[in-house]
Amino acid sequence: MSMLHTVNKSPFENSTVTSCISMCAKDSSILFIEDAVISVMKSTKFTEMIESSLKDFKMYALKPDLEARGLSLNNVIEGVEIVGYEDFVDLTTEHDSVQSWL
């Protein structure tokens, strides 16, 4: 069964992003929303972790949250898909279940 994981915390704030990645099964996906969109930016201390995890699962970041925080879409790690709220809805229905990491 495929699962969509959503995360909303900055990886600089706490370990939610790393916990989520460590418990994400192979055919699952991660959607970064709210403060978690910071995770998918290039040249941070988490960039390498995200890049290597992209081999195992798909990752998405919510565009309105990136834009709201002044984060350039050009600086998003390659391979991370930038999506809107309607895509967020599609992701929840395309996966078998959803886990929101709070």
Binding site: S2, S19, M23, A25, S97, Q99, L102
Partner: protein, 138 residues
Amino acid sequence: MSEEGIVKKFMYVNRKSPYGTIYALESLEVVLITAAFDQDVSLTFTDDGVYQLMKDQKTDGIGMKNFSSTYSALGDYEIKKIFIDKESLEERGLSVSDLQELVWEDEDEDYAEKSSINLVSRAELSNIMSQQDIVMSF
């Protein structure tokens, strides 16, 4: 009280230590209600959530109700699947002996007490989580 006999797999993921926020207590409240609906309920304790099960909690000094003993009632509510993340325990210098023992009584075997606790790796947890219908994280 089941809804036309539908039984789903509900997992509650507890990731926060108790008392600092209300999440642990209010998570427990949902868990007890879910059990009343005859659903397949399991609980995961990971990250700081493992502190929820610490033995010898004493809350007199902080003026809050000590709800740690309520976890021992889970067996009465037919909740027999408690998963504890081994790595989270190790990271915090804890072992399962620091935690409460949680058991359920097997009515068919003259109320014999059986352990509800399963110590699992993150890889195993990931596998168990992905088989759930509903996951709620508190």
